[in-house]
Assembly symmetry: C2
Homo-oligomer: 331 residues x 2
């Protein structure tokens, strides 16, 4: 497993959520072997943390009904070269039952999710945030017993599609309750892509000041084009852990064409260009991303996949024909 | 015309380049009337500055061979409500001949472009930057005589597809020469989308410190997904003027599918969410953007056009069916 020492050598810890958030809303079945091929490719590209599946009831997320098989497949072959650091593997769980399903399958960590928006929590589950947090204690105890790290996730942390704005105080309240429950890794989820950079900066700055021993993770969607800008704002405000999904998978089924998670390739490319070491083999990710449509039938929403890396130089000949600049300069 | 007082009420001056950079590489002919309809729509949405065409030789940019007709059409009807502020209109010119063509057509400003990259300048024009800057004096004099504001544009300001990195010193050298020539508005062009936020921040900070009386404009492409992040970095570093194009038009013809300019709609949406007043009617822009494919046959590359604005709430019913969050929360 990747050790804290491995993470210490990274400036930014990019966490892949393709196996969970990326796939969970995809209607056509993605065969377990295809999921495994993608996850092994991501692990093989030295992504240090993977959320690989979700132990929710298959009724709610039929696409992830193979959670046990995915874990078994990764336990048999993680796609990591011999001697290379092993990534942390995590899974989403809704409650103690989910923890029980996740235990003993080679998973290192599990995550809970509670909405910062009261309206959102009630609309989805007919239960308020306080009640959900009370129930979280059982799951946390189960995880402790099973030797699984428990992470606290906050959905609609930066905005809610029902109530609109989510006050920072509401986000801070859920984070505070998680911290009281003993959680030391807390994920701030921009579930429907409503965050903007000033908001991220202010929230991360305030939460880090209040919880200096908590590791915050930023889970961003690029729904309105601010995904990378929000990631930059978050890192500049001091956090280091960023979620992303290969090809930007994970869009909402009710906004066809709307982008999902921040694209893993674009995020790693941006981080490395800025000078933040990710430890990730970007070329391997790009090669994997090119195969995404053939493997899954899903289109990748990745700028770098189309345009190439910043320093993939066009060369003099291509440029001579390129009207985009030449045209400006000529008479 | 929009007065300096109008601009003073804006936090960010968003400048539309659809008519120039957006159209210049489009191969199928866009009828002049369609161009005018789009430009009038943009002006009518209170975008305060429009670069509407280019007075380069039609041999190089056949799509903009109707530059005179576009100017005449806008002079006849700019699409601005009676009494509303009139936007600044500008055009690109390659030299003094271009200035002569632009004069007397209702255009307020013209822009020159010189590459920061010596390799790029030589590859395109077989002339170095110093020689091009020497020749710029004639165009500047012609503009002064014609009563046109002259702006200095720097292409490949943050990276060059031939030579790769462009040292800040090279960018600063061109900017310094422009300033010596008396120009007070200088555009920093990320021509092929190679900038990253740390680079933008450092360059803008350094250039503003050296030239406190110059208005800097940031011209960004979203080629590798960092367009909005770069815009945020530039504004945070103190500049206020940002270029954009409707639907993100303006991609390079040699990277099919690669995105072009930063999308006008996404940029205005982001700025307004952050709290930077643009003075622009975003809803009018969105309505115009929806018509772009029908009007031009071109696809809009705009996240907000697909997903809606941040606060277009989905409502409780839509959410109940939305697996993207509910699935995480249920057992």
């Amino acid at each position: 497993m990747t050790t804290p020492d491995t993470f210490a050598r990274l400036d930014v810890v990019v966490q892949d959520v393709t196996g969970r958030d990326g796939f969970q809303n995809v209607a056509p079945w993605i065969p377990t072997e295809v999921k495994l091929e993608l996850l092994r490719g991501i692990a093989g590209a030295r992504v240090p943390w993977l959320e690989v599946t979700s132990f929710v009831h298959p009724k709610w997320v039929p696409q992830l009904r193979d959670a046990e098989d995915v874990c078994a497949g990764l336990a048999a072959d993680l796609g990591v070269a011999p001697g290379a650091p092993r990534p942390v593997l995590s899974a989403l769980v809704p409650n103690a039952r989910g923890v029980a399903r996740a235990a003993g399958r080679g998973i290192d960590a599990v995550s809970l999710t509670i909405s910062a928006s009261e309206a959102h929590a009630r609309a989805n589950l007919n239960r308020g945030r306080a009640e959900l947090l009370d129930a979280a204690g059982d799951a946390i105890a189960a995880a402790r017993e099973a030797g699984l790290q428990m992470r606290g996730g906050v959905a609609t942390a930066f905005g809610c599609p029902i109530q609109g704005d989510v006050p920072l105080a509401d986000l801070a309240w859920v984070v505070g309750r998680y911290a009281e429950l003993g959680l030391r890794v807390i994920r701030l989820g921009d579930t429907t892509g409503m965050a903007h950079p000033r908001q991220v900066r202010e929230a991360v700055t305030a939460l880090r000041a209040e919880h200096p021993f908590v590791t915050f993770v930023l889970h961003l969607h690029d729904t309105r084009g601010m995904g990378i800008a929000n990631a930059v704002a978050g890192v500049e405000a001091g956090l280091r852990h960023l979620d992303a999904a290969l090809g930007g998978l994970g869009g909402c089924p009710f906004a066809p064409g709307a982008s999902g998670n921040v694209d893993l390739i674009d995020l790693v490319h941006a981080a490395e260009e800025i000078g933040w070491r990710t430890g990730i083999d970007l070329d391997a990710l790009i090669a994997l991303g090119r195969r995404l449509p053939d493997l899954t039938g899903l289109q990748a929403d990745s700028r770098v996949l189309v345009a190439g890396k910043r320093n993939d130089l066009a060369g003099r000949d291509a440029l001579r024909e390129d009207g985009s600049v030449a045209a400006q300069l000529r008479g």
